[in-house]
Symmetry: C2
Subunit: 273 residues, 2 copies
């Protein structure tokens, strides 16, 4: 277990009446750290700020959050920093307090061993679906039971991730990753409008595609389009770009040229890849 700060104090505990626990009334960010630095910190802060605005939670000062992240990271240097921001404690009842005192939790942990770069991963299709509600889409809030139930569906070390469909059969992403298809040299990734999280690495790949003048379509697709893809990859802030080489029952794919090109560029920029 790595170091932890709760509201800036070395502590392991949060008040039992914190609304983060009572209702999932808060947000989080999971960030990659290398050599004592947090990767893409500004992008994580931008998403957190968007989430705070959506939920009406006051955004803590990013400089304070960064200081606390670096503090818990001191011993490890390289690993994962997870930040949780909640609406703090309050009287019983769903109604948010008018002037909440936000709770900040910052925790460091070691990065789990990942597959060797370029190996490619096998991914399944989960039965648990994502409910559709535009008010909660895109932001990284603490209501994550759908992801928990999806991850409980399999217990096979060969399966690295689980794809999640919305209740209307659109492919949205994986339990903790966004998805991109490559078809005829074009990227295709779902629009995050009524479910799913707008990932920081997804944003970095979209930015990179612009730089590389790779055409991108952001829009809906289902399993038929997935089966017809030339390449598939997942994106996540900790694991970068991971080529999907097999989805049992749906097909298999190569670690293709477009995916490799994007990975190489991300790695050159010092990002995980």
């Amino acid at each position: 277990m790595g170091r932890r700060l709760v509201n800036g104090v070395e502590a392991g505990a949060v008040a039992a009446d914190d609304r983060g626990l009572q209702y999932g009334d808060g947000l989080f960010e999971t960030m990659a750290a290398r050599d004592g630095r947090i990767r893409a910190f500004a992008l994580h802060m931008a998403r957190l700020e968007g989430g705070c605005a959506r939920l009406g939670i006051p955004m803590p000062a990013p400089a304070l959050l960064e200081e606390e992240c670096l503090q818990v990271l001191e011993d490890l240097g390289t690993g994962v920093v997870k930040l949780v921001v909640t609406r703090g404690t309050g009287p019983r009842g769903y109604r948010p307090p008018r002037e909440p005192t936000v709770t900040r939790v910052v925790m460091a942990s070691a990065l789990r061993a990942a597959a060797a770069a370029g190996e490619g991963i096998v991914v399944r299709v989960c039965e648990t679906r994502l409910a559709r509600n535009a008010r909660l889409a895109g932001i990284k809030h603490l209501n994550r039971l759908e992801q928990v139930l999806a991850c409980a569906e399999w217990d096979d070390a060969e399966i690295a991730e689980g794809l999640m469909l919305a209740t209307d059969d659109r492919v949205i992403g994986a339990t903790a990753a966004n998805i991109f298809l490559v078809r005829h040299g074009r990227l295709h990734t779902p629009e995050i409008r009524d479910c799913g999280v707008a990932g920081v690495m997804r944003q970095q790949v979209l930015n990179l595609a612009k730089t590389l003048e790779l055409p991108v379509e952001v829009g809906d697709f289902g399993l038929p389009e997935l089966r017809a893809a030339d390449e598939i990859f997942l994106t996540n802030a900790l694991t970068g770009i991971r080529p999907v080489i097999e989805v049992p029952g749906e097909g298999s794919w190569p670690h293709g040229e477009v995916t490799q090109r994007l990975r190489t560029r991300l790695e050159a920029a010092g990002e995980p890849g």
Copy 2:
């Protein structure tokens, strides 16, 4: 602030890496207490057990939970006991630990002043909708951001509750209550199949209707059916049956004969009403 127990110990805090906080990975019950006794404890335990089974969380022994509830209630005697059960702590990541150590939080608080019995309440229609996912419907899990956002929509003491519609326009209930319509002497309450919570007081009213040989329809309805109702009431374990006398923009209703009859019977049985 009333007394609190975390895993049987007088304490105010929960581990920062508790999955209840990290993902809303748990369940809760909010129970009315009178003169040192918990009302409808068996029904609350039955719903909690159903929720634990759905989420794959081991159900704590009800006798232990009752003992802890009575312990935090000692000073107040009459009020509210809230119980939270989570999947406990675990390593980072959505995947549930194979052998979780469940966290139990039990908290007592005073009952807020309610409207005088029989006065009737004014209720609004919320803009925040309920997303539809059968896997999470009915149980009282900790993913409650939709209710939080709905309650943040108004700040008018005259409005006692907010009605919530599903994303497909069906009326499901209120932020913290179930709803019943009365029409031509029949009760009508939404089926809880893809969103909403199957309330303990809703179950008590359904049982009572059977005893009284009141016909009941459990099925879908929208705002047009609500407008056409003869009577409307909300049910909640703490506030019992509350007649709805007005929904601004939709209509007004009397505190009608069927609602009164149900209230009288509930009160005679020692339930809140």
